[in-house]
Subunit: 296 residues, 2 copies
DNA sequence: CTGCATTATACTCTGAATGAGTATAAATCA
DNA sequence: TGATTTATACTCATTCAGAGTATAATGCAG
């Protein structure tokens, strides 16, 4: 810091890492490279007006889809990331899935990497992990408190990263098992290079939190959508089921959407009205608070 | 990004910028240099295990106070920051005020920079600015909506940065007036170099949001404290008054604090019980959700 | 073409949380 | 000793969130 001991280090390499998320067919998806083993990344290109502008331009070129929403996640430094002494800036971006032009790029479901975070069907996997973590924490009160708080009764869907870190600490992840005594069988879920899986966890947590108080879900939906599609998108992100009548009540009283006048047809059951988000929501994006029903 | 057009830029300079916050005598304070004109900053020193570790070490050396809580704010790049092509990583840190050993360092109240954000006594200043903004927005519906949403009825204390940016856009800030036609008188409040005032706004917003759902207030308090001191610290951060009985009720049902058995003495009025935060709160820091009563 | 399955939509009920106000207790100070 | 000041303890009304139930409108099987 200024006015302190001299340090004068050589300049560093700066990388960008992108977590691009879409929701397709009720499943959250993330764009990967190397057959799902890494997140797309590359060196910072100067000449852009801002970091976000640079990222948006790159993504729009690659996916031929407008990048609706971009948010900075975190900046990492040092050995944690890779061999190169450098800084990595990670971003969360919301799009709709489209064939990536990027060679070797592949959309994958994010629950392939974090199966225990999907509690829409069952919480069995999380419960099984909780049991193994309890065994690991036996006799250590602080550990027990953490296991209970993260995997116990009141499941909080935002704590993706702490849960991941706890599993790491307990040696239940392949990337961590190398550093511990062997404790197979490991937790299920795909591995990633460096700390990319950790970055994905950060992105999931951020999106789960954001979606509760900012109307960003709409970036992931088609222009017109049914209330069920909206609900299922929310459920996909949260990894939890929602009470349908209450969800609809909340959406209505938020005045986020308006009817288009049209409806679905050709499907079983009563046709659903098609909605779109109200123009004022777009205009005031980032101003209005929005409450969506997840965890209190 | 990898697998795309070549770019190969030269390495960049990486700087750290710190927003160190304390609450002293019911006032939020921030550590500055250059007589309040800049935030402490300096080049990234390699050799630290992480960015946060580097910052904590520096702060603890300078202030001889443990840095209770550190959080990354944002990473800026490009011309926005200064003449040097580089990247700046900003941090929010919570401490207690102590004489800074750093030469030229000075603690200042953060409402000296954002007077309209302090609504504990009166909202007159914000109302006056709202009137001037309304005049500026006249005839432009999108602008009117933003003015109303940010400065209007339902004041949301988290929107520090959007409000600051709106004032900039309207040419009411000295740092912005240079880019606009002259529109004095300007809004009150101290200026800062580069975009440091913007970074401070980001820090304020982040802390105001954080304090509602994570027990970080305690980093700003002495080990033992009265409920009134706790309330006044919250009010100082939020820039708003709180209903005393309801605040106490909420604190109690959160089970965050416990009685020490001792009480204040020597002051007017009935002595107040002294409390401390419960050990479990410390242990589960970052796990448990905490609700404090601000804006719904 | 009739009833059944399926999905959408509307409504009710209950308990918890929140906002606001009032009453009592225990100290200092004139 | 009583007035003032601050802490602490209740009460009440309203809103909001969770959970369940009832009705409407379509496709589909017989």
């Amino acid at each position: 810091m200024r006015d302190t001991a001299p340090m004068s280090d050589s300049p560093l390499q700066v990388d960008l890492i992108a977590v691009l998320v879409a929701v397709t067919g009720g499943e959250p998806r993330v764009l990967t490279i190397q057959n799902g083993f890494a997140l797309p990344s590359g060196p910072l290109q100067t000449g852009h007006r801002s970091l976000q502008a640079g990222l948006s331009a790159w993504v729009e070129r690659q996916t031929s889809h407008k990048l609706g929403y971009v948010e900075q996640l975190y900046t990492f430094a040092g050995q944690s990331l890779s061999e190169s002494r450098g800084v990595s800036i990670s971003y969360l971006g919301l799009t709709r899935e489209a064939p990536a032009h990027l060679s070797g790029a592949l959309w994958r479901g994010w629950y392939e990497y974090f199966p225990w975070e999907d509690q829409r069907q069952t919480a069995d996997l999380a419960a099984a992990l909780a049991a193994r973590l309890a065994a690991w924490a036996k006799g250590n009160q602080a550990r027990q408190a953490r296991v209970e708080g993260l995997f116990g009764a009141g499941w909080n869907e935002e704590l993706v990263l702490p849960r991941y870190e706890l599993l790491w600490e307990a040696g239940l992840l392949p990337e961590a098992a190398r550093h511990h005594q062997a404790t197979p069988p490991l937790a299920p879920g795909l591995e990633m290079t460096h700390d990319h899986r950790r970055i994905l966890a950060t992105a999931m947590a951020r999106l789960r939190a954001k979606v509760k108080y900012r109307p960003v879900v709409f970036e992931l939906l088609a222009q017109d959508f049914t209330l069920l599609e909206l609900q299922q998108t929310m459920e996909a992100i949260a990894g939890a089921r929602l009470h349908k009548p209450n969800f609809r009540r909340l959406i209505e009283q938020q005045e986020l959407v308006e009817e288009t006048g049209r409806a679905t047809q050709g499907q079983a059951g009563r046709p659903a009205k098609l909605f779109r988000f109200r123009p004022s929501v777009l205009a005031e994006r980032g101003i209005a608070g929005t409450k969506l029903p997840l965890t209190r």
